[in-house]
Amino acid sequence: MSTENTAVHTHDEEHGETMTKKKIWNVFFILLGITTIEFIIALWLVPKGYIPGNIANPVYIVLTLFKAFYIVAYFMHLKFEKIGLALAIIVPILFIIGLILVLTNESHHWIDLRG
């Protein structure tokens, strides 16, 4: 057992989960689809006024978070790793997202501070 971390083997063999070529291309098309939706919103729905700008912005961010989830979980394989490693990465990122929201909100008040 103590040779386990020096043994050369893919840990995929252990838990049998892996990305097949089919799944890889699936995720690609999901990413492409989400990006296409973002472009449709930015170049058609918002200019024509169907969606106001202040609704579109959170929508972009949510769609981007979806893309980020797919890249991190499937392309970077985090979904298949041990939960400890996944949380070690994800929890700090949740703090960062919290900071983004807090500072963006805060910055709206800074307008009044400007000369």
């Binding site: 097949t20 990006t35 961010i61 790793e81 800074w110």
Partner: protein
């Protein structure tokens, strides 16, 4: 050993955190790459957060669909966000080819790994070329660190009607500084990623990983490359969409 009862402290344990093994069941280098990427995420987050809070503290901001409406070399205007859409597509494609290289590595298929790695490198160079074109185009309009277009009429094109020139200038300066700094940081990461990918591909070619018995190195640089793609997804959203 023998049938003698062993005190708990002397028992050989095999739980994840009892030593002698990787608790997360990953190779050391891979775990360290993840933690490096987390630290790099902090760097980019701080840049993007400063961008966000600075921008929304200003009464006005250049419209992205007005600033980025050219396809350098082809169209001077009228194609909002087309070029950046192309850049995003190129980078996502190179991420896909990278994953395919990793997948081929799992099957120890040296030829396929080389093919997909070379495609990833080409994608990286294409992205860098596009970013260079984007920079050159903006620079030719007068934008640079601490520099905005001197012609008031040119600057007005990037804003809604009725914004005072002073506000336009302040916002344009902030926009230019942030744009070149953040895309510069990101471009530098793409560049180092491409160099690293080239080194690893050479190693694959000479059979280093074949001898080693594992293409884990490809997986590790793959993580870095996906991170670069991930950062671009966020930069794209915050600069070009929001």
């Amino acid at each position: 050993m023998s049938a003698v009862a062993v005190s708990p402290i002397d028992e050989v344990k095999s739980t994840p955190w009892s030593g002698g093994r990787s608790p997360f069941n990953v190779e050391y280098g891979k775990m360290m790459m993840w933690f490096f990427l987390l630290s790099d995420a902090f760097t980019f987050s701080s840049l993007l957060i400063s961008y966000g809070s600075l921008r929304f503290s200003m009464p006005t901001w250049p419209g992205a669909d007005k600033v980025f409406q050219s396809v350098p070399g082809l169209l001077e205007s009228g194609a909002p966000l087309v070029f950046v859409g192309l850049m995003t597509f190129i980078l996502i494609m190179s991420s896909v080819t990278m994953v395919l290289a990793v997948e081929a590595g799992h099957r120890n298929s040296k030829k396929e790994v080389i093919t997909w790695m070379i495609l990833t490198i080409i994608g990286g160079f294409m992205f860098l070329g596009c970013q260079a074109l984007e920079w050159t185009h903006l620079h030719s309009e007068g934008f640079w660190w601490s520099s905005i277009p001197t012609d008031h009429k040119v600057l007005q094109e990037f804003f809604k009607e009725g914004i005072p020139y002073g506000q336009q200038a302040t916002a344009a300066h902030a926009f230019a500084n942030l744009f070149f700094t953040i895309t510069g940081f990101h471009g530098f990461h793409v560049f180092t990623g491409v160099i690293i990918n080239i080194i690893i591909t050479i190693n694959v070619l000479v059979g280093t990983y074949e001898k080693r018995g594992s293409y884990l190195m490809v997986e590790k640089v793959g993580l870095y490359w996906h991170f670069v793609d991930l950062v671009w997804v966020f930069v794209f959203t915050f600069f070009y969409l929001v």
